[in-house]
Structures are given as C-alpha cells and as structure tokens.
C-alpha cells in the first residue's frame, strides 16, 4: 500500500525555488532517508508531507488513516513548563514515555526547564516525544544532530527496534555526511 505519493512538487520562498519538481513514492513500512546539501528543501519537503506548509504546485497524496509523528529539526518546548510537563502535555502513550525516559536515563532532567538544558538534551527529549503519540508514518528531521556518540547509538538502536516488524513508514532527513543512515534506511533519496 502506498503511504505517500508525491508528484511534481514545487515550492518557492520569496522567489527562491526550494523544491522544483519532486517525485517520491513510499510504500507501507518503507524506510527512506532524504539527503542533500543545506537549503535544498529537505525540511520543507517533510513539512509539506506533515501538512505544515502548503506546496505551490504538485500533488501530495497521503493514504487515509495515516497517523503522522514529526520530530522537528530544532526542538520546540514551551519555556514556562519543565520537561516533564512539556512531555505530559502532548503525550498520548504514558507507558511508552516512561519506557523511553528510563531507556535514555532522563529522570534527573525532568524537573528542569528547557533553558536549563543543553541542545543535545533538548534533542533527546524531542526524540522521545516523537514516539509518544500514535503514528504509522514517522517524519524525522535530522534526529541525531546534536546527540553524543553513546546516545546516538542508543537512539539508533531504539529506532531500529521500533521499526522492526511493524508497518511503520519512515522518512528521515539526514545530513550529507552521516554514513550510518544505511543501517536504518532501505533507500537513500537524494534531493538536489
């Protein structure tokens, strides 16, 4: 079953063409990593698929019943809530949340506010949040960007096990230099 079918997608910002005729098809359970240089429209493509940005031209077909979870490139948390309150606010799966808090050893950081955490920790919390809502399409925008090596390995291991034997479709944006994407993806989609 086709989950995403993108035909001739075009998007410009202030006359600057970001996406110029993109075609992409994802089958259920498929895992694709999008690569490309800075400013080539990787994030824009994910946001269009998530329905956060409207395309100028082209067709974006998402199969009915698709539940999307999106990990933003820059972690977004409400600065007046601590991390526990931030996660609980959007969480639809408390047991998954608890499991991930334990897995990443984040208990000691739950009482802290976003401004008290490093970029790396915010990225981990953002990664955790992605799995706390029901989804069968995962859109991850440079998910391991600010992780240290240990957490990167743990996150990748978790993602792989999460995707194993499940009909979850993955579309992940990754930086050009990341070589380990092959461990996760079925295909690499180059966006130029």
């Amino acid at each position: 079953m086709t989950v995403i079918n993108i035909i001739n997608l075009k998007k410009s910002f202030n006359d600057k063409k970001v996406l110029n005729g993109v075609f992409l098809k994802l089958e259920e359970g498929e895992k694709i990593v999008i690569k490309g240089p800075n400013g080539c429209g990787k994030t824009t493509l994910l946001k269009i698929i998530a329905g956060l940005i409207k395309p100028d031209e082209g067709i974006v077909e998402i199969s009915p019943g698709t539940k999307i979870s999106f990990m933003f490139q820059n972690p977004i948390f409400l600065p007046w809530l601590n991390m526990e309150e931030n996660l609980n606010l959007t969480c639809k799966d408390p047991s998954k949340l608890k499991e991930l808090i334990d897995y990443f050893d984040l208990k000691d950081y739950l009482n802290l506010f976003p401004h008290q955490l490093s970029g790396g920790y915010l990225q981990i919390f953002s990664f955790v949040r992605t799995f706390t809502i029901p989804h069968n399409l995962l859109l991850l925008d440079e998910p391991f960007k600010s992780f240290d090596i240990n957490r990167k390995e743990k996150a990748k291991a978790f993602l792989k096990s999460h995707l194993d034997n499940k009909k979850i479709t993955l579309l992940m944006v990754s930086h050009q230099e990341d070589r380990e994407d092959k461990e996760i993806a079925d295909k690499i989609f180059n966006l130029f």
Binding site: A50, L78, L81, L89, T90, R129, I133
Partner: protein, 245 residues
C-alpha cells in the same frame, strides 16, 4: 546608605526647599501654599471620612472602566479576522486622535452627569492599548508553536491554560498594569467635569472655593496611589525595574 536612596533623599530635600522658597517668593497661599501646610492637610485627610468615601467612589469607577476595557478588549482581541481588525483599528484611531476632554464632553451629552460618563471615558482611553496588546500577542504566536500543536494536538482546556495564558501573560500584564495606574487619573479627570462626587469632583469643588491646600493634598494622594500601584506591579515583576542610580 545605598546611592539610589541617598539620591532620592537629596532630590526630595531640594524639591521641598525649592517649593518653600517659591512659596515665600509668591507669598500667596491661594496660589502656592507652603509645603508643610500641604503636608499637614494631606495627613489630616486620612481621617476625613468624606474624602475617603470619595476616594472609594473614584476607585470603583476606575476599576469598572478598566474591567470593561480589559474584558471587551480581550474578547475582541481573540477575533483573528483581518477585516474585523481593520474596522476596530479605525475606531481606535478615532478614540486616540481625540483628546480626553472631547470624550468627556460627548459622554456628558450621551449619558448625562454621573458615573456612566466617567466609566465610559475611562473605557475609551484604556480599551485601545488593551485590545491591541491581546490582538498582537495572538497574531504573533510563533509559527513553531502552531506547528507543534498541529503535530501534537492537545485539548482545548490545556491549550488555553498551559499554552495560551502563559504565552499571552508577558504581553498583556504590563499593559494592564499601566492601564490600572492610568485608570485612576482618567476617572478623576472625568469626575472633575461630570459628577458631584469622587476625587475629581473634590478637586473641582476645591478649585471653585480656592482651597489650594486641598487641591495640592489631593494631587499628592493621586501621586502616592500611582506610585504605590507601580511599586506593587514592579514587585510582582509585571513592570520592569526603574532606572537605578
């Protein structure tokens, strides 16, 4: 002693000295009474029930005007329709382009002598800033938060209590605090022309009978009330700290 306190004490000594010297130079209690006489009058008003009663009336009128301006400003500020905004903006331009005295005069014609005129005038003067602060705060909600809640939807109750109110608070509270301080002055001004009670009326009455000490004493109370409210709002971190020397 801290520098700022020393400066304040020096300032007030010079201020009262200057006042005293001006009083001696002008030599007319009906125009420029001596500071010690004004201070004695100010203290005596504390036990003057008529004065306290009128002070209370002014406080109630200003709070009603403030509440109406905030309530209506908040409700209308939540309407995101651009055409509606342009319509309200035009009305606000009319409110703001006319001096206070025009509104007092018009209110006197529409509502007659009494509280309604004072409340209406207070409302007209406070509504624009309160409405605009709500409207712009909501209009400028960062895209990232809008995107966050599209992907991670939350209940309406949580959206209001955990996002909207905390987000909007820093935009509205300083305006509300300044409006509270202004409301008292606006109401007193309107009462001067439009009522037979309240602080403004006492000023008008004192002016008619050239009771200058009384006028000065009332102005000191208006100053104290305004500074006291400012102090409270600063302590609550709603208004920013003033310049410290």
């Amino acid at each position: 002693m801290k520098n700022s306190l020393r400066f304040k004490i020096t300032f007030w000594i010079i201020f009262f000295l200057f006042w005293y010297l001006m009083g001696m130079r002008i030599n007319s209690p009906a125009i420029f009474p001596y500071p010690h006489k004004v201070l004695l009058k100010t203290i005596s008003l504390l036990s003057d029930t008529e004065f306290l009663y009128n002070l209370g009336i002014t406080a109630i009128r200003s709070l009603v005007g403030l509440f109406l301006a905030f309530f209506i400003g908040f409700i209308l500020g939540n309407i995101k329709n651009e055409k509606f905004y342009v319509g309200i903006r035009n009305i606000i331009d009319i409110f703001q382009s006319n001096p206070l005295i025009i509104w007092i005069t018009l209110a006197l014609l529409w509502f007659g002598f009494g509280s309604k005129t004072v409340i209406f005038t207070t409302f007209i003067m406070l509504f624009p800033n309160l409405y605009l602060s709500v409207y712009y705060a909501l209009k400028n909600i960062p895209t990232e938060y809008i995107e966050l809640f599209k992907i991670y939807p939350i209940s309406k109750k949580n959206y209001i209590t955990k996002f909207l109110i905390p987000y909007i608070k820093p935009f509205i509270l300083p305006v509300l605090a300044n409006s509270t301080i202004s409301s008292f002055k606006i109401s007193a001004m309107a009462e001067f022309f439009a009522t037979n009670n309240g602080i403004g009326f006492l000023l008008s009455y004192a002016k008619t009978f050239l009771n200058t000490e009384y006028i000065y004493a009332i102005s000191i109370y208006l100053f104290i009330i305004s500074k006291f409210l400012e102090y409270i709002f600063r302590k609550m971190n709603i208004l920013k700290e003033d310049l410290k020397l």
